[in-house]
């Protein structure tokens, strides 16, 4: 047993983080927020880097990696707040032409009847007839809603969405800590005060617990473990974004600070597939 990341996995994380920092840094993120459009050039670059073909076998032109690697990559995507139907397009690689290469944007109807990025997508998987648009809370995830018979939540979709939540939880911890070290009141950094320090410690605990759960679920593939991981990852992402906002004080309530973007995305991912009550029921059923 060695539950740590292998050298290859560590290198993969570093590579993805560098790619996203270079291609989708803060300026690009804010430009996307302003335009509200999906950057097809970036989508193609992600395809070229193997982002969507990650789990496609090498014989089929893919990268041939497994669920653990996919989880690591999606965690980085979550940290960078990368927009678009990433999980659905990755799922479609190998079956929908152009998905693997980043030439096609593929979205899907979620088990909760939500369709992210419907208008930007080339292909919508699932029963999308009669979908109506919503004014999405997340400026970087346009949403449609559909009712009727909905597809069951696929465990892999649940897990990869949870991985994105871990990325948000980690980003929020880092951002809160950075702010608490920099921002001074009463003549010292606010991070020296226990009231602030303990919020930050709680954020790290949630992140590490959720990360361990998501990584393990990626290794075992067990449905109940995946449901538990989603439950913890949703909690880590939403609660950390809330605490990060609080640590930022008045700045945290502004449009200019990025923390609200993470909170809103965390809400979307939490509601998109296997939301809290369903996840908890699924874990309980296995008891």
């Amino acid at each position: 047993m060695d539950f740590r990341l292998s050298q290859d996995q560590t290198d993969l994380v570093r590579g993805v983080r560098e790619l996203l920092a270079g291609r989708f840094g803060r300026d690009a993120l804010r430009a996307s927020v302003d335009s509200g459009a999906l950057d097809r050039g970036l989508w193609k670059e992600l395809g070229d880097a193997g982002f969507f073909a990650l789990r496609l076998p090498e014989a089929d032109g893919g990268v041939g990696l497994g669920l653990p690697e996919a989880v690591l990559v999606l965690e980085e995507a979550g940290r960078a707040l990368l927009p678009g139907p990433l999980v659905a397009t990755q799922r479609a690689a190998g079956t929908v032409p152009g998905a693997a290469e980043g030439l096609a944007v593929v979205t899907e109807v979620s088990s909760e009847g939500l369709i992210p990025w419907r208008d930007a997508a080339d292909v919508v998987l699932g029963p999308a007839e009669g979908a109506v648009p919503m004014r999405s809370v997340d400026p970087l995830t346009p949403l449609h809603r559909v009712s009727g018979t909905l597809p069951a939540a696929r465990p892999e979709t649940v897990l990869l969405t949870a991985a994105e939540q871990v990325g948000t939880a980690a980003w929020c911890t880092d951002a809160a800590v950075a702010h608490a070290r920099r921002r001074e009141q009463f003549g010292r950094p606010i991070g020296a005060f226990q009231a602030v320090k303990h919020l930050c410690a709680g954020m790290l605990v949630r992140t590490e617990l959720a990360r361990a759960a998501v990584h393990a679920a990626a290794v075992t593939g067990d449905a109940a473990e995946i449901a538990g991981a989603k439950l913890l990852a949703d909690d880590a992402a939403v609660a950390n974004a809330r605490d990060c906002l609080q640590v930022h004080g008045g700045m945290g309530f502004t449009w200019e600070a990025d923390v609200h973007l993470h909170l809103k995305r965390a809400w979307v991912r939490a509601a998109l597939v296997l939301p809290g009550a369903r996840a908890a029921e699924e874990v309980a059923a296995a008891l």
Binding site: F193, A201, L204, H215, G228, A229, A277, A279, A280, L287
Partner: protein, 377 residues
């Protein structure tokens, strides 16, 4: 990210299972919780059996993965835990093994491993709890001995201990952390008085220790004079490593029992209760994975588990208290009956967010040592 065990580790597990299945039926009945001599005899008898079977030193095994397997399997089989040997096996012993001289290791480690000698811990004082470095028990050098005077508190197993790992102040002028030494105090030395403390659970799990000019040979000091704080930190981080493996296994079993009980008494029909148990189960499953990650890191670095244990303890101690609150919900009015299972455990669990570093101190450790936030209160 590999969760599989090697063939050698699986073999270790299989042999252990076989041994436990053969050994456990022959154990004497568990003693009454209030019968301290009986508890000592029971716990030491179990340690002796482990020693004779080649498992006596397993807590100090070079391989954290084997420790993990050992704790997992013994808990699953319903075998006793370390009991009165907690300090000897998990605090004092590892400290002596890491910091003691060859002579000290030869004197003290064998009796601990054979279950012949019991240790207790004299760290906290009435005015030095979370602020342990503020301890004031004085040790004054007099020839080849220290003369020790002071008071210790929360000393578990003091009534039946042969030795106490004692932190004393040897240099009152030095900065707080640099004037402390680590001594092995013989509990039968003249001037040692033990007064049991009754816990809110009704039993005397720990004691106060009064020291009145007790002479302790200088040769009983482990580590250099005034270096006791560093020596102690080795012990404390050990406690925050794999020490909770068995308890997480026990919590996961308890969740299964709760679900069964709730299905039987009809409370399972309440979705709020089901979801509450589901949430707890997800948390304990993740804690198990966190242990596996901490063990993997300890295995790779070959060292003592580090501050990552604080992350674990913070979630675990609160989750365990919530687990017993959920158990009370399953029991309904029976939760008020101390004769029912889990209720005494519920009371005991109230110490978990306090003992071995309060949650507040653990958050300071996480914030300052892992996240790099500035010191300050």
């Amino acid at each position: 990210m590999d969760l599989s065990y090697t063939g050698e580790e699986e073999e270790f597990r299989a042999r252990l299972r076989e041994w436990l299945a053969a050994e456990l039926p022959g154990l004497p009945p568990r003693p009454d919780p209030l019968d301290w001599p009986g508890r000592r005899a029971y716990d030491c008898g179990w340690q002796r059996r482990l020693h004779d079977a080649g498992y006596g030193h397993v807590h100090w095994d070079a391989s954290p993965t084997r420790r993990l397997i050992f704790l997992e399997e013994t808990e699953r089989a319903g075998a006793p835990y370390v009991g009165a040997n907690f300090v000897g096996l998990l605090h004092a012993g590892p400290t002596i093994a890491a910091e003691g001289t060859e002579e000290q290791r030869a004197r003290w480690l064998g009796p601990v491993l054979r279950g012949d000698e019991v240790w207790c811990q004299g760290f906290s004082e009435p005015d030095a709890g979370s602020d342990l470095a503020g301890l004031r028990t004085r040790a004054v050098r007099d020839g080849d001995a220290y003369v020790v005077t002071g008071q210790k508190i929360w000393t578990s197993h003091a009534e039946v201990a042969d030795w106490c790992e004692l932190l004393v102040r040897t240099d009152p002028e030095a900065p707080r952390h640099r004037g402390i030494s680590w001594l092995a105090l013989p509990m039968d030395a003249p001037g040692v008085t033990v007064r049991p403390l009754r816990t809110l659970a009704g039993s005397a799990e720990f004691a106060e220790l009064f020291l009145d000019e007790v002479r302790v040979p200088v040769g009983n000091r482990v580590g250099e004079e005034n270096d006791g704080w560093r020596v102690t930190m080795v012990t404390l981080s050990f406690e925050r490593g794999t020490a909770f493996v068995g308890e997480v296994v026990a919590c996961r079993r308890l969740l299964g029992e709760l679900a069964r009980a709730a299905r039987e008494n009809g409370r399972w029909d309440d979705p709020a209760l089901r979801r509450r148990l589901g949430g707890l189960a997800a948390g304990f499953q993740a804690l198990w994975r966190l242990i596996q990650r901490n063990v993997s890191e300890a295995q790779a670095t070959g060292g003592v588990p580090g501050v990552g244990g604080s992350v674990f303890k913070l979630h675990y101690s609160h989750a365990r208290q919530e687990l017993y609150d959920a158990a009370a919900e399953v029991l309904g009015p029976d939760a008020l009956d101390l004769g029912r299972e889990w209720n005494l455990d519920r009371l005991s669990s109230l110490s978990y967010t306090i003992a071995a570093g309060t949650s507040q101190i653990q958050r300071n450790i996480v914030a300052e040592r892992i996240l790099g936030l500035p010191k300050g209160r």
